[in-house]
Each structure stands twice: as structure tokens, then as C-alpha cells.
């Protein structure tokens, strides 16, 4: 089923459910139905739902993603469901050749990554990013692909947006020149 059709199907289900319950469906229940197939629900990423990555590969991806965006006082990549998101995007958005480039890049990266002590792995990721940016390879190196997917997944996730940005779904007005001192934190402008 296409994503549009899937989304429509969920809306339709919701409408029907609301009708069956005499319109008394609760907001959280409605939300649960609408989000039923969300890429970022907690159970996604369980081995049985993986599409491109193996469970072992997902573990490495999760570890690197968490290094790129760790849990601090705000949520980290794992909290945001980034590993499962990456698997979903690889499957739905990437062509086979790019999926293969990602998985073979992952295999090559994994060995030296694992050989580092856990405490040194962050430095290794940083160093790998620096040399990849310097090399300016095209197509982009594995670690840059992973970094881009991590940022995309995290900053399009609910916790990623709500923890880090001032998300105002209905701004109601536009002001062209506002001093930053009057703004809270990074405003969601996308």
C-alpha cells in the first residue's frame, strides 16, 4: 500500500471508530490510531520489523547515532527512534545501490569502530567525519550518510523537535524582524 493510501486508510479507520463509539473516542485513543504505523513508535526496530538492516547492524547504527546525538539533558538518537527510522528510510527512500553502499560502508566501519575502547569511539567517529569531509568523495562516504540520516531522523522526531526547538504549530502571525533576545531557543522554521 502506498503511504498516501496508508495515511488515508488510518484516517478512515479513525472516522469509523469515532462513529462506532458514538463520537466518544478519546483524544489519546485517536492519537494512538493515527500514530499506529508511525515509523518512530517504540516497538519499531524490533528485529522482526527490520527491512534493510540486520539486528546486529542496527545495534552498530544505534551506537554511532547515539554518539552523534547523545542523550544529555535532552533526548538522544535512541530515544527518538533514530535507528529504526534509518532502516525505514533506507528501505523506502534509498535505491538498492545506495542501500548496499550503506551496508557495505557499515561493515567496513564497524571493525575499526569496535576495536576502539568504548571511551574512544566518539573520537573515532569525529575523526572519520573530518577525513570524509576532507576527502569530498562522491557519492558521500558512509559516515556522512549515517550522520545525515541521524540528523534527519532526530530533528523530524517528536522528542527531537520538542526537546530542542520552539515548535509552534500555529504561529498565527509573521514578524519579519525580531531580536533573538526576545526568542526562546531555536524556532522550528522548516
Amino acid at each position: 500500500m502506498s503511504q498516501d493510501a496508508e495515511l488515508m486508510r488510518r484516517r478512515e479507520l479513525l472516522k469509523r471508530a469515532a462513529w462506532l463509539l458514538g463520537g466518544a473516542i478519546s483524544a489519546p485513543a485517536a492519537l494512538a490510531i493515527l500514530q499506529g504505523c508511525s515509523a518512530k513508535e517504540p516497538v519499531a526496530g524490533a528485529a522482526s520489523t527490520l527491512k534493510v538492516l540486520s539486528a546486529a547492524q542496527l545495534d552498530v547504527v544505534a551506537e554511532i547515532a547515539e554518539i552523534i546525538i547523545p542523550r544529555t539533558e535532552t533526548s538522544g538518537a535512541r530515544d527518538a527512534g533514530v535507528p529504526a527510522f534509518i532502516d525505514e528510510v533506507l528501505a523506502a527512500v534509498y535505491v538498492k545501490a545506495d542501500q548496499d553502499r550503506f551496508t557495505s560502508g557499515l561493515a567496513a566501519f564497524e571493525k575499526p569502530f569496535r576495536e576502539r575502547e568504548v571511551a574512544d569511539r566518539s573520537a573515532f567517529v569525529k575523526q572519520s567525519l573530518e577525513s570524509a569531509l576532507e576527502a569530498k568523495e562522491s557519492p558521500r562516504a558512509f559516515i556522512l550518510m549515517l550522520r545525515e540520516l541521524t540528523l534527519l531522523g532526530y530533528f523530524s522526531s517528536k522528542v527531537g523537535i520538542l526537546d530542542n526547538m520552539e515548535y509552534v504549530p500555529v504561529p498565527t502571525a509573521f514578524q519579519g524582524c525580531v531580536p533573538l533576545s526576545q526568542m526562546k531557543k531555536h524556532v522550528y522554521w522548516e
Binding site: 502506498s2 495515511l7 484516517r11 518512530k40 552523534i68 540528523l151 504561529p171
Partner: protein
């Protein structure tokens, strides 16, 4: 036959069809409105209030969409948040003649592309209506600016166009709601352009409500909430679309019968009466064929859609297609010319930003070939763009990670500013569409074959569009000036027009000055087909004005017994 008979039939529900439906029904005509795509009613916008985290795949376009919609995704528009508004190309094929790319971006549903349009609303100017005659290009326009100006007033007032009165001869002012604001960097760019180059930069004129409408005919519409999610459909009815505006008005008259999934494939012509008597329709779901009858028919099926219906309507009187005595039907296809986009970073202004997401940008109106200036090409172009503070994407080329990265994301990025050009393409008989009878779609109907290319004037203009863009950013002192890729193919601006041009002389044109088919006066064509030339401004407002004028003309002619 009784239940299939109406006073008027309108084919299509986009910008033009919606206006025809509103004006005809308000004048008391029982009107059948036919849409080839699915039913959508105002408010039925599945993703309109969906938060970003509920849009799958970070809103990246999927391989499935690319496979089903290889033409639609040539534009940057279809994403998981809105791809339901773009046709499935495999189910809606057409033929591109070898080496001649044509990007036909479409939405088959009630409301058509008025749901996804960019809402930029500019009048054509006196100059635009005069250039063909002055320069000997195409054929002279049969309508002057002064004749159409009151109809621009009429449609602007009803639709609600926000903008500033800028006093420019090449871009006449209209009946505006208050303008949106430029941001700090845009104001600086505006000042520099004026001081250093004598060029104007104005806030875009856009069909979004910045204040309540000045009439009470659209109680379903509320002002813009600055979400900038218009392309998904607006639950507030804050921008003009057929769904939010014209069709509800038509519905309230009680005179409209709106049917979806009805593919009009032929006009019915009565040789004895010398009139069209109705349309032949295929039901998209059941395949059933039905004839519908009316005193007057409005074709508003988009320029290629209407040209298709006319070319597919062959009779003893019209062996070469309906109303095609001139041989110009399907010809003179134009679009708006784009070139590579130009962008730069703007230093400074780090302590300011903006709040809200403005569903609009700025506009640099045409400045070339005005007055005595003569470039090595004819006509001109304008630019649309905006300045903004860059977002998370800027970190894709940084090695920053960890807590440091999370901290850095909290700060808005550097200012970036871009220019995207839209130029006039000259009408040319050689740019045309025909019917490809060797190929059928899933309904068994033959498909369109499109054969267009950019010619010398366009290529010269494209070079200047890029060079001028770079020059303006340099003059403003902006850094890291970047020229993007030129990925333009004819059609990509989604302003295709001209396939049944209007003119004084039936020997060289398909329509007269009231959008009537010269050879069959009870058929009006009021979508982009009628343009004798396209100017460089976004065209929808002009379709609205001519459609409203044609509908009033049809009602008067019916009263006089002339149709």
C-alpha cells in the same frame, strides 16, 4: 436525456473551473461541473494538521513515489506530506517526442492545482498585452489592459490578494489586503538593489488572507495562520482555492451539480444548429459512458486538458479538431522559463530573526526591455525568493557531534538568500501537442503527444537570468554566491498555456476576445489555453479575470438569444 440537461456545463474544477462555476450559478444558470479526478471537499486535507513527526521518512520522497510518479517528481513538490495531490504518471501517461522533455505536473481531484498552487497573484500589464503587436510576435492580443482591469478588481476582491501598492507600470497595482512583511535582510537587500541598481524588490502579492475579506460571501475563510503548509490544503481556508472559495459559493446558490470521476473526452457538435450540444463523459470508476447536454459549455480543463478534448472532438464540420479552422489548436504552447537558481550567504544580522512561517517571499518585478532598453532577446523575467536563517541541514557538512552539536543546533544558522527566476517564453507555432492515437491510457483513450523546445530567445534570456542574479548578489556584497543546477524542462514552472490562443482573426486564432471558440460561440475556453502570450508573471489571476468576464458574457449572450 432530461436529467442530463443543464443550462451550462463546466469542465474542470481548478482555478478557472471554480470561477466559471461560481459566476454562472450566481447568475442563475443550472450548471453541471465535471471533474475527472476524485471528490474532495473543503476541509478534506488529510495532512493539513499533521505534525512533522507524523509525516513518514522525514518527508523524503520515496522510491515508490518516484516509480509511480516519474514526471511529477521532476518538480520538487511531491513529498510524503502532499503526494496525494499529484497524479500517478503510470495511470496518466502522455508521450514526449524524442528529445523533447515536457513536464506535465497535474492533480486530478476536485480543486485541481488550485490546492497546490504557489498563490502568487500578479496582473499582466498594458505592456504585456501590447508586446505581440509591437514586436510582430505571435498574434496581437484582442484585449487591452483597460478592458480586463475591472475584472482583475472583481476577482482580487473576491479571492483576497495581499500585497503592497508599488506604483509600477509593468506590474499594475490591484485591490489588495495588507501586505505581508519583509524580514530584516530582505529590507536590506531591497535598499541595496534600489541604491546600487535602481531595481525594485517588493513583497510577493499572494492569495493568502492577511485580514478579513472585504465581503461576506466566504464565511468559511479565516486569515492566514503563518504555518506555511498551504500545499497540503488549508483547514482555515486562508488561501484562495476552488475548494475554499469559488465552489462553496457555487454550492450555496443551489444551482450547481458537481460530479467527480467524470472524464470529458469529447464535445458533442450539432451540425444543423451549428452549436455544441454537450459533452461525452467516461466514468473513471465504472467505465460507463454518458452524454450531458447544455446550452453553453465552459472548458476549464487546463490548457493541455482542454486542447485534448477539442482535438479529440472530430466531426464533419471540424475534421481537424473542434474549432480548429486556424490550425492553431494545440500550438503555441508556452510555460514560464526558469534558469539555475542563485543563492548566497548574508553576513551580519546575527542578532535578529523572524517569527511565524510566512507563506510568501519577495518579488523582483521585470526590469529588462522596459522603456528604451533593448537586450539581445525580447521580453523579460522576474525573480522570486526569500532570505531566511539556515536550519539543521547546515550541519550535514560539519564534523560537529555530541553535546556540542545539540547546543549549536539551538542557535539559528547564518542568513541565506535566494533568487529564482521566471521568464517569458515566446509563443511559437512549432511548440505543440497533438493526439497520439497509437497509445492508449487505462481508460482506452488515446494520449497526448507533446513536442516543445526552448529556442534562441529563451536560451539568451536564461543566460541573463543567471548573470543578473549573480550580479545583484555581488552588488549587495553577499558571500558564497552559488549557482545551482539548471534542471528546467518546459512545463516545470507549471504555467503551461497557449494551446487555443485568442485573437481578432479566426484564421490565426482559436478563440475570440471573450474566450468563445470563433467557429462555435457556445463553447468558451477559459483556462491557460487562451493566452496569446504569457508575460513573465504567474498567470492564475489572469485566468480568474478572463473566466469571470467570459461567464458574464455567456450569461448576457444567452439572455439575448445569441448562443
Amino acid at each position: 436525456m432530461e436529467t442530463n440537461s443543464f443550462d451550462a456545463i463546466v469542465v474542470g474544477t481548478g482555478i478557472s473551473g471554480g470561477w466559471a462555476a461560481k459566476e454562472l450559478t450566481e447568475k442563475g444558470l443550472k450548471t453541471l461541473v465535471l471533474e475527472r479526478g476524485r471528490m474532495v471537499r473543503h476541509g478534506e486535507y488529510p495532512t493539513a494538521t499533521t505534525d512533522p513527526w507524523d509525516i513518514p521518512f522525514g518527508n523524503r520522497v520515496t522510491q515508490e513515489t518516484k516509480q509511480r510518479k516519474p514526471v511529477q517528481t521532476r518538480s520538487q513538490y511531491p513529498t510524503p506530506s502532499n503526494t496525494h495531490w499529484f497524479v500517478d504518471d503510470l495511470d496518466n501517461p502522455y508521450t514526449e517526442v524524442d528529445g523533447s522533455r515536457f513536464d506535465w505536473i497535474r492533480g486530478n481531484h476536485v480543486g485541481g492545482r488550485s490546492i497546490m498552487w504557489a498563490r502568487q497573484s500578479y496582473r499582466f500589464s498594458p505592456l504585456d498585452f501590447e508586446s505581440n503587436a509591437k514586436e510582430g510576435i505571435g498574434i496581437p492580443w484582442p484585449v487591452s489592459y483597460d478592458e480586463i482591469a475591472p475584472w482583475y478588481d472583481h476577482v482580487e476582491t473576491f479571492a483576497g490578494i495581499s500585497g503592497a501598492s508599488d506604483g509600477l507600470a509593468q506590474l499594475p497595482d490591484g485591490k489588495f489586503l495588507p501586505p505581508m512583511e519583509l524580514n530584516c535582510v530582505e529590507i536590506e537587500f531591497q535598499r541595496k538593489l534600489t541604491e546600487k541598481m535602481g531595481r525594485k524588490l517588493i513583497i510577493g502579492r499572494v492569495a493568502n488572507l492577511t485580514a478579513p475579506l472585504t465581503h461576506d460571501q466566504s464565511p468559511q475563510r479565516a486569515p492566514c495562520q503563518y504555518r506555511n503548509l498551504c500545499i497540503r490544503g488549508c483547514p482555515y481556508g486562508a488561501y484562495f482555492s476552488s475548494l475554499s472559495s469559488t465552489l462553496p459559493s457555487a454550492e450555496r446558490t443551489g444551482n450547481m451539480t458537481l460530479l467527480a470521476n467524470k472524464i470529458v473526452y469529447e464535445l458533442i457538435y450539432d451540425n444543423d444548429k451549428g452549436k455544441a450540444t454537450g459533452v461525452r463523459v467516461l466514468d473513471a470508476e465504472t467505465g460507463a459512458q454518458t452524454d450531458y447536454f447544455a446550452k453553453v459549455v465552459f472548458l476549464c480543463a487546463s490548457t493541455l486538458g482542454s486542447a485534448y478534448i477539442m482535438m479529440n472532438s472530430v466531426s464533419a464540420r471540424f475534421p481537424n479538431g473542434f474549432g480548429n479552422d486556424s490550425g492553431e489548436l494545440g500550438h503555441n504552447l508556452v510555460d514560464h522559463l526558469k534558469a539555475a537558481g542563485v543563492s548566497a550567504t548574508v553576513e551580519g544580522h546575527e542578532d535578529v530573526a523572524y517569527t511565524g512561517r510566512r507563506a510568501n517571499g519577495y518579488y523582483i518585478p521585470r526590469y529588462r526591455n522596459l522603456g528604451k532598453e533593448k537586450r539581445d532577446y525580447l521580453r523579460g523575467f522576474g525573480y522570486q525568493g526569500r532570505a531566511s536563517r539556515s536550519g539543521v541541514g547546515r550541519f550535514n557538512n560539519s564534523s560537529m557531534i555530541g553535546a556540542e552539536l545539540k547546543q549549536a543546533v539551538q542557535e539559528p544558522g547564518p542568513w541565506v538568500l535566494n533568487l529564482s527566476s521566471f521568464g517569458e517564453i515566446l509563443p511559437n507555432h512549432l511548440n505543440h501537442a497533438t493526439i497520439d492515437r497509437s497509445r492508449k491510457d487505462k481508460y482506452g483513450l488515446p494520449v497526448l503527444k507533446i513536442d516543445t523546445k526552448l529556442r534562441e530567445n529563451e536560451l539568451a534570456m536564461q543566460r541573463e537570468m543567471v548573470a543578473d542574479g549573480v550580479e545583484m548578489l555581488e552588488a549587495a556584497g553577499y558571500k558564497n554566491i552559488h549557482v545551482g543546477e539548471n534542471n528546467y524542462g518546459m512545463g516545470l514552472s507549471i504555467h503551461e498555456a497557449g494551446a487555443a490562443r485568442m485573437g481578432k482573426d479566426p484564421k490565426t486564432s482559436v478563440l475570440n476576445k471573450f474566450n468563445q471558440v470563433h467557429a462555435c460561440k457556445n463553447v468558451y475556453v477559459t483556462d491557460g489555453s487562451f493566452l496569446a502570450s504569457s508575460a513573465c508573471q504567474n498567470p492564475s489571476l489572469t485566468y480568474m479575470a478572463f473566466t469571470a468576464r467570459a461567464a458574464h458574457h455567456a450569461v448576457e449572450e444567452l439572455k439575448k438569444g445569441n448562443l
